[in-house]
């Protein structure tokens, strides 16, 4: 276990003329929460898209526990243990909450076509067991969500959509969870709930690490072990928030005067 | 009226792309029955006309509908060979006589199902004398074949190819195209190098007209010949002035007073569709059924089928008799028709 959990070296991607992510190095250790902050358009979401295999980097490498995962397709990266949520939530709207979570367990369940067709009892047992676990997961994060588990995800309000996305990500028993602006659209109470959830999950699952993009400074100040700041595609700072926020460059690019004082 | 009530069936394409053929034939069928009912026919005959939409599956459905109706005594059917081939087993299994009025694939009568007979000559019958005439009368040495990929087209192309080569000619090119093709320019342009003396066309009216017109356009000024399949005023309408000089074979026996009377009756009946080349076949096929039913009654279908095969019927087609396979033996001697001054006329040397 000498390797860091996730190790990103020199990651870059360009879109036409625009270098959206440039030479980003990032290390995430076991049981660590790292927040990524930075101005809008800095390339934070793009970095997530690279790590989760949606985009293929033009340069650079990614390692998960020492294993090179550069260039892997998204589904293999997910199977390897990196789960994520999206900046604008992408649920399976025409399916129930429970089905959404079950789909999150795709990499943790096995049965394929032949099992389904020829060994229905086994396949069914597996799925039903998964459904029970999915229910438990939902319940742990939010009893209200659990109560609505048979309704369609499309009917959920914003905050609940985010929560469900997080549950879906958890369902794959990942080693890394990447949350893209999880608190956006949440009111302060919900944000507090979110932080409590993250802490609880961390406690329940030793070894699990979070990579979180955030703009809500209350959360950034309270939650992470470390903060990485991205600006114009480059990482300009990495460290403890209390120190990072004092860096003039970070203040100028990101925090602005008021927030720097408040936070 | 307390005449016993019976039904006769008709199946053909009355919707879709071939509806023009089917509608003309259906009207021939209706005309024959109406005339019988108006005369002192011993039964009150009700016509049942069903659509096969040129689709084998729909055709089988229609056939099953007929054989399941206890009142239906016999039927005439189909313009498309694939549809006929699909429904024949149905009629065979329920022993219902069926006379094919339009489909011309040799395979249909090759199977020799006792219930199935056909009043249309197979295309072989017409291609043989036409090929002989092309080699001698027309004096062509090299001919290019254009035919569609349907059963009709391929059978024509094979038959003519064989007979013409036998007669000492040479086939210099063969172009098959799917039904519905509207642009032959490329193939025609390519043909110029082979410098054929004539083009043999083995397809139906629409493509014939288009091809003839486009031949003129690309400057291919050679005769076009074919069997009676596109002997039709529509061909001239489609090809326009380019139609001039097109020559087709035509079964010689076909012009007779009975045919003229049928055409007159047809016109008097004022159907909403004009006659098609198949009207006369359907008309005679129906009359053959009516004749044997009058003689044999309706109870023994096997006897009916046998009677049809044994018949010698003098109708609009001439005298129809069937060979041992149920194929019409009708005369195959041909005369040549030619388009002159915008109309079909007798070809003169």
């Amino acid at each position: 276990m000498s390797h860091p959990l996730l190790e990103v070296r020199g990651l870059s991607i360009r879109f036409g003329g625009l270098v959206a992510v440039a030479e980003v190095d990032l290390t995430l250790n076991h049981s660590e929460v790292v927040c990524i902050i930075g101005p809008n358009g800095a390339g934070k979401s793009t970095l997530f898209n690279l790590i989760s295999g949606i985009y293929r980097p033009t340069h650079g490498s990614m390692k998960l526990e020492g294993k090179d995962i550069t260039g892997w397709p998204a589904h293999r990266i997910a199977a390897a243990g990196i789960a994520r949520t999206f900046q604008s939530s992408r649920l399976f709207n025409d399916l129930t909450l429970l089905d959404n979570v079950l789909i999150g367990m795709h990499t943790r369940t096995r049965s394929g076509v032949f099992d389904a067709l020829l060994r229905p009892a086994t396949a069914r047992a597996e799925l039903e067991a998964a459904a029970v676990r999915a229910g438990e997961l939902l319940h742990a994060v939010s009893p209200q969500l659990h109560a609505r588990r048979h309704t369609l995800a499309g009917a959920l309000p914003q905050a609940d959509r985010r929560r469900l996305e997080i549950v879906r990500a958890l369902a794959s028993e990942p080693r890394v969870i990447m949350l893209d602006e999880p608190s956006s659209g949440m009111d302060d109470r919900d944000t507090d709930g979110l932080m409590a959830d993250v802490r609880r999950v961390m406690a329940e699952r030793p070894g699990l690490s979070f990579l979180i993009i955030e703009h809500d400074m209350r959360l950034v100040a309270a939650l992470p072990d470390r903060v990485a700041v991205i600006d114009y595609g480059r990482k300009i700072a990495d460290g403890d928030f209390s120190q990072v926020r004092l860096m003039p460059r970070v203040q100028e690019a990101y925090l602005g005067q008021k927030a720097a004082h408040h936070a | 009226q307390d005449k016993p009530h019976i039904k006769l069936g008709f199946i053909g394409p009355v919707s879709g792309g071939n509806a023009q053929q089917g509608l003309g034939a259906r009207n021939g069928f209706l005309l024959a029955i109406e005339q019988a009912n108006a005369a002192d026919y011993p039964y009150q005959v009700e016509p049942v006309a069903l659509d096969d939409a040129s689709d084998p599956q729909t055709g089988v459905g229609a056939a099953l509908k007929l054989v399941n109706d206890p009142d239906v005594v016999a039927a005439i059917g189909h313009w498309n060979s694939p549809v006929a081939l699909a429904t024949m087993p149905v009629f065979h299994r329920s022993q219902m006589p069926m006379i094919v009025w339009g489909a011309i694939s040799p395979q249909i009568t090759q199977q020799n199902l006792p219930e199935i007979t056909r009043v249309t000559p197979t295309l072989v019958a017409e291609n043989h004398p036409l090929a002989d005439w092309a080699a001698t009368g027309l004096g062509a040495k090299k001919i290019a074949i254009f035919a569609d990929t349907s059963d009709y087209g391929t059978a024509n192309s094979q038959a003519f190819d064989g007979f013409f080569t036998e007669a000492g000619g040479e086939i210099v090119a063969k172009e098959l195209f799917p039904v519905g093709t509207v642009d032959f320019r490329t193939a025609l342009t390519k043909l110029r190098d082979a410098s054929p003396d004539a083009i043999y066309f083995g397809g139906v009216i629409a493509e014939a007209g288009i091809l003839r017109k486009q031949m003129a356009e690309v400057g291919l000024n050679i005769p076009m010949i074919g069997i009676s399949g596109f002997y039709d005023p529509d061909f001239i309408a489609l090809a326009g002035p380019a139609a001039e000089g097109t020559m087709v074979s035509y079964p010689a026996s076909q012009s007779n007073p009975k045919l003229e009377k049928m055409n007159a009756d047809y016109a008097a009946r004022a159907f909403s569709e004009p006659t098609s080349p198949y009207t006369k076949y359907a008309y005679d096929a129906t009359n053959i059924l009516l004749t044997v039913i009058r003689e044999k009654g309706i109870d023994d279908k096997v006897a009916l089928a046998e009677a049809i095969r044994a018949i010698s019927y003098d109708g609009v087609l001439g005298t129809t008799t069937f060979d041992e396979n149920g194929q019409t033996r009708i005369e195959v001697s041909i005369e040549i028709k030619e388009v002159r001054d915008g109309a079909w006329t007798d070809h003169k040397k």
């Binding site: 879109f15 979401s45 898209n49 949606i54 999206f86 900046q87 992408r90 | 919707s15 879709g16 792309g17 071939n18 509806a19 023009q20 509608l23 990929t149 063969k174 172009e175 098959l176 195209f177 799917p178 519905g180 093709t181 509207v182 642009d183 032959f184 320019r185 490329t186 193939a187 342009t189 390519k190 110029r192 190098d193 009216i205 629409a206 007209g209 288009i210 017109k213 486009q214 356009e217 690309v218 400057g219 529509d234 309408a237 489609l238 090809a239 326009g240 569709e273 004009p274």
Partner: protein
């Protein structure tokens, strides 16, 4: 030999231009406006029937119009009529599927195509029969060995003009911006004072009218028209638009020329080529899409997440 080559070339350009006129409508409707309208080919094919009816009426009334003048009037009238027909069909049927899943619109418009074809067949006098369609222009220009029919020049010219006009319309006019806006976000477009119904009407009108010229050229080129020509022409036009890249007017040309090229080449080179032309055309379509999933000039869709 040279003359032969020229003939083939010319044939290629004419076919390509005709396919382009159909492809443009598909590209406009599918690619720009985002509506699925599989009966576009059938709608367009009503055009020649209308033109034919008008020509016959004009001739019957013995109006003092030359034959070609009558035809020209008839074609223009048919374009307008088909434009309106497109608008009407959208209003009656297609608009009801704006928010439904794509597949439903697809099936509904395929059914609509059947309805249109069968309506012509049953309602038009002698609708089942093929009908001769007059030549639009019969003259030829002779340059040395090469004979160029005036008709070919007209077809090529009109098609190029249409592409240019539509390109300008979509990319450089307020209407074009509105069409794209409606396609992307209907309710917000309304907030921007765009009346979606009008935009749909305008687009359907243009696409259908342009399609009608394509159909008229097609049948004039063939010399005959039949009620069911629209289905194949539609499929080919759709393929051309797709392999060119839906939404791109230049793509429509490129796709059409490609398909027409295969069409002609197969017939020149392959024995029995005509019977294999559809095989090759659609194989090409598959191949292009395997290597260029959004068509030749279509922008690859990069999803921003």
């Amino acid at each position: 030999m040279d003359a032969l080559l020229m003939q083939h070339l010319l044939n290629w350009l004419v076919l390509g231009s005709i396919y382009t006129l159909i492809a443009l409508g598909f590209s406009l409707l599918f690619g720009v406006l985002n509506v699925i309208h599989f009966s576009h080919g059938d709608v367009a094919m009503v055009g020649p029937f209308i033109a034919l009816a008008i020509v016959q009426a004009v001739t019957a009334m013995a109006m003092p119009l030359g034959a070609s003048a009558a035809l020209l009037v008839a074609i223009l009238a048919a374009m307008a009529a088909i434009g309106l027909l497109g608008v009407l069909l959208d209003w009656l049927v297609i608009r009801r599927f704006r928010t439904s899943p794509a597949m439903m619109a697809l099936v509904a418009t395929v059914a609509l195509g059947t309805v249109i074809r069968e309506m012509i067949r049953t309602l038009y006098p002698q609708g089942s029969n093929p009908k001769p369609f007059p030549a639009i222009a019969t003259g030829v220009i002779q340059i040395g060995d090469v004979v160029i029919p005036v008709f070919s020049l007209i077809v090529i010219g009109v098609s190029v003009a249409m592409v240019a006009a539509l390109f300008a319309l979509i990319s450089h006019t307020p209407v074009g911006v509105r069409i794209r806006a409606v396609a992307e976000d209907l309710s917000i477009a309304r907030l921007m004072a765009v009346r979606p119904d009008r935009i749909f009407a305008v687009t359907f009108f243009i696409a259908s009218a342009v399609g009608a010229i394509g159909a008229v050229f097609f049948v004039s080129h063939a010399g005959v028209v039949r009620f069911d020509f629209g289905i194949q022409l539609g499929l080919i036009g759709f393929s051309a638009a797709v392999i060119g890249g839906l939404g791109s007017m230049n793509g429509a040309i490129l796709g059409s020329l490609l398909i027409a090229g295969v069409d002609v080449l197969v017939q020149v080179l392959v024995p029995d080529g005509a019977s294999y032309r559809l095989v090759f055309i659609f194989m090409l379509t598959i191949l292009v899409l395997v290597f260029k999933p959004s068509g030749m000039l279509g922008k690859p869709v990069f999803e921003k997440v």
